[in-house]
Amino acid sequence: MRAAQDTSRLASPPGERRAPSPAAPAAGAAAPRPSRGHRLRGRLTIAAFLLPALLLFGLLVLAPILVAVYTSVFKWNGLRGLPDDFIGTANFERMFADEVFLGDLWRGAVLIVLSLAVQLPFALGVAMLLNQRMRGRAVYRMIFFAPYILSEVITGVLFSMILSPDGGLANLVLGTVGLESDWLSDPSTVMPSLFLVMTWKYFGFHMILYLTGRQGIPHEVTEAAQIDGAGSWQVFRYVTLPLLGPTIRISVFLSVIGAIQLFDLVWVLTGGGPAHSSETMAVTMFQFGFKRYQVGYANAISVVMFAVSLVFALVYQRYVMRRDTEGAITAMRSQR
């Protein structure tokens, strides 16, 4: 009866194997060779099941990215047909001489540093707070996560009014302590304001990640430390924090990638202004592509944005997240 079964099917991962290991070779070799007809039918099934995904992904994800790479070496207004004015690396040379683009890189770095130094520790602190036994913590958790599900546009429009100089909530509240500003139109306050809005919107997401990670740490571990006489700070510093490592590394990863590709919030809040002082790479790209019809140049910016994300992702996963696959105690290790 085994022979009747189409052996080109992976009967199953053997019962005990929990984490799928991509390295495991497709174990079809040991089984008796299936008949021709079966093999053909198996292949047809595979092709039919895979085809829709490959088509969709190839046409709408891979092809556009390849086109972006291809057109980045042309001068092209994007209006019709394919570009023909080949200019080699001129777009890239222009980009790295362009103060706005260099500023994008700088501002991206600032947002990343602020996120890692302020937003994530804040989220971690709130998560540790909600991990305490306290009344109403489910309600607090629900409220803190709520901004994450609102769209960037709603967030942006709301805060553009709150931060507005005439009648905005921010000036009214901060005015009582003498801190008034035209928050979004003053180049010196626009980045802190943008970061504040990002924190409002995203800290709840990181908080939930940490909270889930914290709950994956067995009670016995922290209790053992307490019994050994560790104070709550010591328990946090030497037990909880290291065990949260895998979660923190994922949260840092998502935060950095998000900052590199930030678009919606900036577009709605400031459009990149005043005078480019809150512009990001994605906003610059959008400006050149859809407002100034310099599509070749805009695509060169896309390519750099893509390269930056990809290099970061590869380096990060190779050197930082690698440890997480080597058996952390917590259940939260990334399940690749």
């Binding site: 079964q5 189409d6 080109s8 992976l10 009967a11 199953s12 991962p13 019962g15 929990r18 991509p22 497709a26 174990a27 079809g28 595979i46 099941f49 895979l50 829709p52 995904a53 969709l56 992904f57 709408l60 994800v61 092809a63 556009p64 086109v67 972006a68 057109t71 994007g78 305490q132 306290m134 109403g136 607090y140 629900m142 409220i143 803190f144 996560f145 709520a146 609102l150 769209s151 960037e152 709603i154 009014m161 005439d166 009648g167 909530l169 409002w200 939930i208 990640l209 889930t212 307490q226 994922i250 949260s251 998502l254 590709q261 678009f263 959008f286 859809f290 896309s302 893509f306 992702a313």
Partner: protein
């Protein structure tokens, strides 16, 4: 079982009070902006400029009434719903088929194909938006909901396939063998047995797809020129541009636009939260 030393009563009270003070402060940071929008919608221009924080007096209902009476609002809501549902249907359906093959078939090139999809996690929308626009224009899909639905589904494939594949792998082989003995073909097993068993995973990926589509801004922004196709995010942004000086109206519009997402969240908090975090952890 509970061996932790009981906290002394005297110490517990002030400590828990301190915790609540911090929690309430953070809560205020989150809620005040939303409350500002909600209450601002009930004020008129004069009240907003003289007393933006306090309760409205008198309560002005015309702003909300105007929004709810505007056909454009309902149209945008309908478009958002339609596009979110269609995107979810396409991305979950197509991904489930592919994930099934990746999880339970052995064939040459499987890991290669799968790796291509996982690398797709790293492709940001922003990188592809210009060529995508050119492509959609050439295909005549501008001002067509498919022009948003299909790319959204395509960019959702990697995450959806990864999550579903993991789940499909966990289903014991005995079940598949039994189904095969009962005369189930590959598709029969997939359709009648695997999918019903995978309901929790399907719910997770559907949540991801719906929320992603609901909040998407960049793609509809470039695809829809015709206001009759606008989704809520586009409508909100446009409304702010149009009524820049009439704050109360804009705040009412923003507040009403928040309601569907917040209602969905209130009803399905656990599913939503676990879905969104599962996406992060598995990606």
């Amino acid at each position: 079982m509970n061996r932790r030393p009981a906290p002394s009563r005297a110490g517990a009270r002030p400590r828990s009070l301190g915790l609540h003070v911090i929690a309430v402060t953070v809560g205020a940071f989150v809620i005040v902006p939303i409350a500002f929008g909600l209450l601002g919608g009930f004020k008129d221009a004069v009240q907003l400029s003289t007393d933006p924080v306090g309760l409205p007096s008198p309560w002005v209902f015309s702003n909300y009434a105007d929004v709810l009476a505007a056909p454009s609002f309902w149209r945008q809501l309908g478009n958002s719903v339609l596009i979110a549902l269609a995107t979810t249907l396409v991305v979950v359906g197509v991904s489930a088929l592919a994930a099934f093959v990746f999880a339970r078939f052995a064939f040459r090139g499987r890991e290669l194909f799968f790796t291509i999809f996982t690398v797709g996690l790293m492709f940001p929308f922003a990188v592809a938006i210009l060529p995508l626009f050119v492509l959609l224009r050439a295909a005549g899909l501008l001002d067509n909901p498919l022009g948003v639905v299909l790319p959204q589904a395509a960019f959702g494939l990697p995450m959806t396939i990864i999550i579903l594949r993991g789940f499909f792998r966990g289903i014991p082989g005995e079940i598949e063998e039994a189904a095969t003995l009962d005369g189930c073909g590959a598709f029969g097993f997939f359709w009648k047995i695997l999918l019903p068993m995978a309901r929790p995973a399907l719910a997770t990926v559907s949540v991801l797809a719906v929320v992603g589509s609901w909040n998407n801004f960049m793609l509809p922004l470039v695809v829809f020129n015709d206001p009759s196709w606008w989704t809520l995010p586009l409508g909100v942004q446009q409304f702010q541009g149009q009524y820049a000086t009439e704050w109360a109206r804009v705040l009412a519009y923003v507040t009403v636009a928040m309601v569907p997402a917040l209602a969905f969240y209130a009803l399905a908090e656990r599913r939503l939260v676990s879905g969104l975090t599962a996406g992060a952890m598995k990606g």
